[in-house]
Symmetry: C2
């Protein structure tokens, strides 16, 4: 916007004003994209009565069958503080059942109910809807994922 873009990969040589713009645009872009995804998912999942995080949890169960809370959390990168109330809501909605494991009484295994299993059929068209809504060619999506992966790895390393 102000001067010619730098060509070095070393941010140390840039003025603070430039840094401010760059880093916030990245974070803003990321948030904006997340927000936009949220809107599309909200729309697509409205008739299923699921939020996006609930949909993710159901996806895991549809794919893997009964799993302890811990295992669901590992796949979704969520802890029990988030999952316990979420799963409780899914149970209230009649989509899952939670049962203490007989082998390990600490563990709670989450099962799909018949209703929950049946919901899968109605959820099948969702991914196609979302992918179409991105408007990006598949190659670009793959490239984006790769870049985001490296970004996440670097950021995680930095903390």
């Amino acid at each position: 916007m102000t001067s010619s873009p730098p060509h070095s990969s070393d941010p140390a040589g840039l003025p603070d004003s430039e840094l401010l713009r760059l880093d916030h645009q990245v974070c803003f872009s990321l948030q904006a994209a997340s927000r936009a995804f949220g809107g599309v998912y909200r729309e697509a999942l409205r008739e299923l009565g699921l939020t996006y995080p609930q949909y993710l949890a159901m996806m895991v169960l549809w794919e893997h069958g009964p799993l302890p809370v811990r295992a669901i959390g590992e796949r979704l990168h969520l802890d029990s503080g988030t999952l316990s109330p979420l799963l409780k809501r899914l149970e209230t909605a009649g989509l899952v059942r939670r049962e203490r494991s007989a082998q390990d009484e600490r563990s709670v295994v989450v099962h799909l109910t018949d209703t929950g299993a049946a919901l899968r059929e109605r959820a099948l068209p969702v991914p196609r809807t979302i992918l179409a809504a991105t408007g990006l060619p598949v190659e670009e999506i793959v490239a984006l994922q790769r870049t985001l992966g490296r970004l996440t790895a670097s950021l995680s390393r930095a903390v």
Copy 2:
């Protein structure tokens, strides 16, 4: 992961199993990157006593001076439901003051206090820290932003 990647930009020809993977990896990648950013910002902002959204609000005020709630919300894409309590916390922390506008009694103008203005000095090194933590060359960040921008535009159009 399983078969050769498709080379078409038309998702209609792909099997559902492949679609499931693609779209979720994108959303997951996006969430993972956001989460990772969150961690880095949390760390960088801890000693300032600010959360990331609070930091953004302060940035807007540092840059533009006194602004009505509405104007802050436009720049951050947040509504009063989010901003009102956030600004109230900033006011409690002694960083901002909120004053009814004399011209338009509906409007509340947010001013920095001396403490709030002074905090800017301590926040200056933050962007450099974040950018360094991304580990990406500047060109790639710019490209990423561009892709995310198009993604967001498409998704917004789709809702």
